[in-house]
Subunit: 464 residues, 2 copies
């Protein structure tokens, strides 16, 4: 059953039951390894029960009767993955950029986040966020909400409705923040438990993730309580790590028992793979190494701009994912994360937009930013590794970050079927371009790219 893209797609959009099995045709591109792309010009990628059944130059016999959407000369790419974004900050993205991290939190982020106590405001602001995420190139995201349980549940309802695959966290914060955002220590844990109970079984593709804001805002008691919840539930964890030198110095004061900032999470079982048993804070973590390779849900730490050698070692041992947020690290004068070194160490790295320290939700832009800052680091920082390539940046924004969700971020067989259809005709050109050049343009000129369709786990998110 062959259909031209356009007319049949409208039919697809109004089906009551989404098609479980279908074929997309176009110029396929996916990361094979972290430094190689795989292309099939005018190839076929098959969705079977929400997963990719493979990429083909010629369609196999058994798929020939399945609905086929022919996207002509469009590019078909895996859906992008954002490992770090703050939903409540979306409202003020692109403003307040003249401040450094700790000032920016106090002057911008915290006052805005306090507004999410008001569910009317939250509905309005999160509605805009969810709508923009839906029509972005992002298929999956790790999302910070605020400390407010009800608003977090509302955000989860809205994200569920988009069809994206997301992990959303109610934030914990019981110290070093304005009173109108500060939770009581017990309250913080109780509300987290109530949140998890409220949403249990409620969503198909929206999951909770434990979200201590960062060590300066979380007392040992809150961290201990979260560690307990983690051991009971096996939930994934997201937080911030070594973003800024002042922040790291502050953590050394707050947790003198921790040899590095990462250890301040690790001591509570909040750093890395699954945890079999916990211990209160004390030097030496209690988690089994794990991460994507081990059992249980992994941890993602945003930034990791200023790791000590010890911290890098711990990130690697625990299988912690690094969410590299190049634009945020630039805007807040944080610095440039040593991504080349992380990749050489075999550490799992993905990209984050970190809205609103990053200005927008585009992971294409984050790919370009990652390459650009790696060039400046290479030029300006003593001993820095060579810059990232397009292939590497594309990997980070797809398969690299996708691994946090399991098998995601690739069009290859066995991966969840997350796909983007990109029509780049608006990037007018007088001569021909190779497919790699077309991809490079989409990454660098993301504002000019036009998404025609997005699928997540085989669900049609939109077609236009």
């Amino acid at each position: 059953m062959r259909m031209r893209a356009g007319q049949p797609l409208r039919r697809l959009a109004v089906r009551e039951e989404p098609m479980k099995n279908f074929v997309l045709r176009g110029n396929l591109c996916t990361s094979r390894t972290k430094d190689s792309l795989s292309w099939i010009p005018h190839g076929y990628v098959v969705c079977e029960d929400g997963r990719s059944a493979g990429m083909f130059a010629e369609l196999q016999e058994r798929f020939r009767q399945w609905p086929l959407l022919d996207w002509g000369d469009c590019l078909i790419l895996p859906g992008l993955v954002d490992l770090h974004i703050h939903a409540p900050q979306y409202a003020f993205r692109g403003t307040g950029m003249d401040l450094e991290l700790l000032e920016w939190l106090n002057e911008r982020a915290f006052p805005e986040e306090a507004r999410y106590q008001d569910l009317d405001y939250a509905g309005k602001a999160y509605g805009i966020f969810a709508e923009n995420m839906k029509f972005s190139a992002t298929a999956r995201a790790c999302i910070f909400a605020t400390r407010h349980r009800e608003a977090t549940e509302l955000l989860m309802d809205l994200m569920e409705a988009t069809g994206l695959r997301t992990m959303v966290g109610k934030v914990n914060m019981d110290r070093n923040c304005p009173e109108n955002l500060r939770e009581g220590t017990e309250e913080s844990i109780d509300e987290t438990r109530r949140w998890l109970s409220d949403i249990e079984g409620k969503y198909d593709h929206t999951e909770p993730i434990l979200t201590p804001r960062f060590i300066p805002a979380c007392s040992d008691a809150v961290m201990r309580g979260l560690g307990d919840i983690r051991r009971e539930t096996g939930l994934a964890v997201q937080s911030h790590l070594s973003e800024n030198q002042d922040e790291a110095a502050w953590v050394r004061e707050l947790c003198p028992w921790a040899g590095c900032y990462g250890e301040a999470y690790d001591g509570f079982g909040m750093f890395g793979g699954s945890c079999a048993s916990g211990s209160p804070a004390g030097k030496g973590g209690s988690c089994a190494p794990g991460g994507s390779a081990g059992k249980g849900s992994p941890t993602v730490m945003a930034h990791c701009v200023w790791p000590s050698g010890e911290e890098t070692k711990l990130i690697k041992e625990r299988g912690v994912f690094v969410a590299h947020c190049p634009q945020s690290n630039t805007n807040l004068c944080s610095g440039i994360a040593p991504v080349r070194e992380y990749l050489e160490e075999g550490i799992s790295v993905g990209l984050g937009t970190d809205v609103a320290a990053g200005c927008g939700e585009s992971i294409f832009r984050a790919m370009a930013d990652a390459i650009q800052v790696s060039k400046l680091r290479w030029k300006l920082a003593e001993g820095a590794g060579r810059p990232l390539t397009l292939e590497e940046a594309f990997f980070l924004g797809t398969k690299g970050g996708g691994a946090f969700f399991g098998k995601a971020g690739s069009l290859e067989a066995g991966y969840d079927f997350d796909a983007l259809v990109v029509d780049d005709r608006s990037l007018s050109r007088p001569g021909g371009l190779s497919l790699r050049e077309r991809l490079e343009r989409v990454v660098y000129l993301a504002e000019g790219q036009s998404l025609r369709a997005k699928y997540v786990e085989g669900r049609e998110i939109f077609v236009r």
Copy 2:
């Protein structure tokens, strides 16, 4: 005569004679000094014979009968100024970003530029460039063409038709470049003279500018010939300076007589203000200091990333403009120009996109890039000055670069009437924003901004 924006504007667009005198109403913003913005909420800016007659909170009696276009809550900003862009490279923007300057020239820029020998190709490619420039936020630009006289004239025809104010240069290059781009030394000067003669009196707002590609591609004889033409014509000059450390080392080999790269231009009377008499290459330039303050047309040098102290001094003495191209300098791993130090020295600085080493033609993006790289320089480079502010970046992209054209880049009385109407409603927000925050968003989220109208010297470029 009061009109609502929208309906009357369509009438304006089809007038045979453009209105010489009219008033725009909206939220006015312009740079007053290099670090202060001037705002008039719901104010009036008056165009009288192509110049601004001033910005007003209340409309003066004598302007009340003039056509008034009320743009409601839109922002009204001065037209932006791009001091450095390569028209023939527009075709491959956003590709080939994994190379450094000298490789990139040989592998990307030169092969593409060679195609402009073919006028059909040139027409197609320059047509796309001119169309995109017309609908961009840029009102004025200094544009490199190629070495080809005919294609350069075609580009000037196309730019004239856009209504923008531009300076366009036929490039001179007679060494160290591929044979199919290399001019004979005499040919280079003869063709330049013929070009200037062909276009004499032909355009209203498109001017020629002398354009030696850069010292490595221009023999002393060509530089001497251009110096002669400059003394005869008083034309402005544009070129490249101290972009890359390898390039600067090469210039030291090529021009051992020059104490710094800038002196290699200066020795031929191609650096700074007007020239009364010339001298062949030899240490010590022959130009009177001038630049914007002196007589004659000034010189603009792109990049200036790696100036020696001596070069900075010469730039200042000669009144040379620096075209700061932050994205290009990042993409080509060139480094980060010391803009803070230039501003403190009182050197004239504007912004350049440097397409295609910069990916796109947005000067809003260049403003954000300038701030961002200044933050990384401040963080990573020993002794670097503090980062640029929004106010400073906005100044660079408007009044700072505008000074190269005379009185341009401001809405203030006496400046050429270049204005943008920006409708930022698409940047949805749940709460209110100050006007400064709205400007900051337009700068950082330029892809989301929507230009409703552009005027250059009072000419309506487009309205939509």
